[in-house]
Symmetry: C2
Subunit: 199 residues, 2 copies
């Protein structure tokens, strides 16, 4: 089978960022490509009665340590953002708009947003930051600003989150491969083992 | 440095079981031994406002799938227990008693309890099951029964949990290596990388 990897992520998710730097290489090991699905963790946390990792007593302090250590151990640039976590509606809408209009640019821009936030201290919770990153990347800023405000783009994001939850997706990163669900950057090796040994 | 690995686990934790089958081999790669620390997740979940994985909406169904798949991908026998999760006070007290009186037998019996629960369908939430496993392992059943009821053993378990929480430990398995904390069976590779590359 050669179906694409479905890669679900929230732009405020550190492990989602780490995964975003390696998911294409992982998929390429199995001659696959990646479908990028920006989602929002907020509604998922609400359904689970959960909260962002860093805000949970006991677990929060460890999580902040593990974000940085995981990045270091895998050689990925990382600087814990000062504003964290943040709202990621604007960033997600920007990627969804590009996927509709210039799909060949959407994945690279998703990676650019993630890197801006988790490696360069850019506050991507602000729509203006997302637009500035777009401009720097050679995209049309005013077209994107208009695109992010389109009702169909807003509706698409709501639908994407609802569809993901209906599929049982509850976290970031979340990868679905040939119908098999994997949650977490730390499941990349499981994906490898699973694809090599199943059947 | 050659300090032991500190290995914290709750007997109701599937990933703790998976880790219990490999922690000694991992430690041995670095010429270390393992200190086994039975703890109780209940007080930690309470502090975090959390719950057993399998009981969390959305996440629970995935977790049950991931327990079995993780075991399969690593070649570890696993059968999801019918009674799950369970109370693990009796099992933890049994190991603590052995650590005081016949410490050379404690780690093997901890592994035996875990295997009984997660591979053989033995309901280790029942003190009688723990005692039956002890008898089968050639331990003195009545001595262990008396030992599990000792006030100092009961106090030791409370102290172990409180000490662990004071160290920032909140889950199972949790491994501390040279002061560095690692949460999860999926951090075994991080432990390797960390020990090989630090400093």
């Amino acid at each position: 089978m050669t179906a694409n990897f479905d890669f679900y992520f929230d732009f405020s998710s550190p492990y989602g960022y780490l995964a975003s730097t390696q998911i294409e290489a992982l998929a390429a090991e199995f001659e696959r490509q990646v479908n990028w699905h920006p989602i929002l963790l907020g509604p998922m946390f609400k359904a689970m009665g959960s909260a962002p990792l860093s805000e949970i007593p006991l677990k929060g302090k460890y999580a902040l340590h593990d974000f940085e250590r995981s990045a270091r151990l895998f050689g990925i640039p990382y600087a814990q953002p000062k504003e964290f976590p943040i709202g990621t509606v604007a960033a997600a809408r920007a990627v969804l708009y590009l996927q509709r209009n210039t799909p060949e640019k959407a994945a690279d821009f998703a990676k650019r947003i993630y890197r801006g936030y988790f490696a360069e201290g850019r506050d991507i919770g602000q729509p203006d930051t997302v637009l500035a990153l777009a401009e720097e990347a050679g995209l049309d800023r005013s077209e994107l600003a208009n695109g992010m405000a389109l009702e169909e783009v807003k509706d698409q994001l709501k639908k994407s989150v609802a569809d993901a939850m209906a599929l049982g997706i509850f976290g970031s990163p979340f990868i679905v491969v040939d119908g098999e669900p994997f949650w977490g950057f730390d499941r990349f090796d499981h994906i490898r083992k699973w694809l090599r040994t199943r059947g």
